[in-house]
Symmetry: C3
Subunit: 159 residues, 3 copies
């Protein structure tokens, strides 16, 4: 068993993998934050979607008015979905990239730019900033993931 | 090649990783079940979204009435999206956590509570249970993922 | 450090893992392509959702008409969400499967069928092909993921 333990800690001792783990944890926590922001807007704007969520506001038509969409809630939800669409590929491709023997400095560059771009994207979406602020921050994250995928396919291709 | 094979099986021989693999497979299968439940409600409620999906019901206005939203279908879809928003962070952060040298008993506690909470969340959403049933089950899963992320960042931080 | 580097490259030297990395990168790139197709339809159909996205079209009611939903845009978005719902389980379960000591030929069969089925699914959704084209391609990908999950649970089960 000591052999197993040694093995299991070696991956995490690899510096590129540690960098991957750090930025993946940070960006997934950022994505999770979107749930809290959605809940905050739902509660402050009183805009809910499930009948059971407004039961505490009383019964009948007086409560039903809270079953509605709100522009701020919908905006956060779009940002959250955009996170899913972009952070899922980063987490998956980033793991393969981190295991493909990338240089630490190059890997850190990729992880830092992606994480910064996605944090900017959230600010651009929620404030909102004028375009092309959101578009550019999206494109930067997209390009970083694409660059990692290119390196993975060049290194490991086995069809 | 025997060296490679030995290497590739060692990760899966690690008990914390095996526990992670078990609960990740279970919770992803649970998430996949949402697709079948959506399909079940679409077929029984006759509520579709794509014109090509109702071609077998005939042409014209008699079939077009099945292009509609249904509260039960929408409810399952919200549950499915909530799964994506919460299970993706669990799978990503849980992998890093499993590789960070966590104790088996602590890891099992995290994985079991998360999996139980998400199964409860699905029941609470689909029945539906009165609040705060769904809210609490969501919060428990969220807290477990946050706890694993904290442990990962404390162990591996390399910015 | 040379020991670490050797360790980190060994996983990627394993052929089953290389096959997993190849098909995961390809299918995640395919999913990312959905963002570009959505953007293409939004721009050509002039159908946007955020007020800041139409600022360049001028102010007032003349620009507001571009804040609308378009059937083609919504179709791509549904395909994108279906990708998330199905590719996330493949990436997660596929990783565990690749590490569970599967045979290379069996693993390649799973990865190739899944990737082919999901590419077909996208064509079936976007053209669109008559049903059951899209339904079948969805079911094939679903069954492949289920088969890998079964193998993972049979191999590693630790509850």
């Amino acid at each position: 068993r000591s052999g197993e333990m040694a093995k299991s800690t070696q991956l995490i001792d690899n510096e590129v993998f540690r960098a991957y783990a750090t930025y993946t944890a940070i960006i997934l926590l950022k994505m999770m934050l979107m749930s809290l922001i959605t809940a905050y807007y739902r509660l402050t704007r009183k805009a809910f979607v499930n009948p059971e969520d407004i039961a505490s506001f009383g019964k009948g038509d007086s409560a039903k008015k809270y079953l509605r969409t709100d522009p701020d809630v919908e905006r956060v939800r779009r940002g959250h979905l955009n996170d899913l669409e972009n952070i899922v590929p980063f987490v998956g491709i980033g793991l393969l990239y981190a295991l493909s023997g990338a240089e630490l400095s190059t890997a850190l560059l990729h992880f830092r730019i992606f994480t910064g771009a996605r944090i900017l994207h959230t600010f651009a979406y929620l404030m909102p900033l004028p375009q092309p602020g959101r578009g550019l921050s999206w494109a930067v994250g997209y390009a970083v993931t694409f660059s990692m995928a290119y390196r993975v396919l060049k290194t490991v291709l086995l069809l």
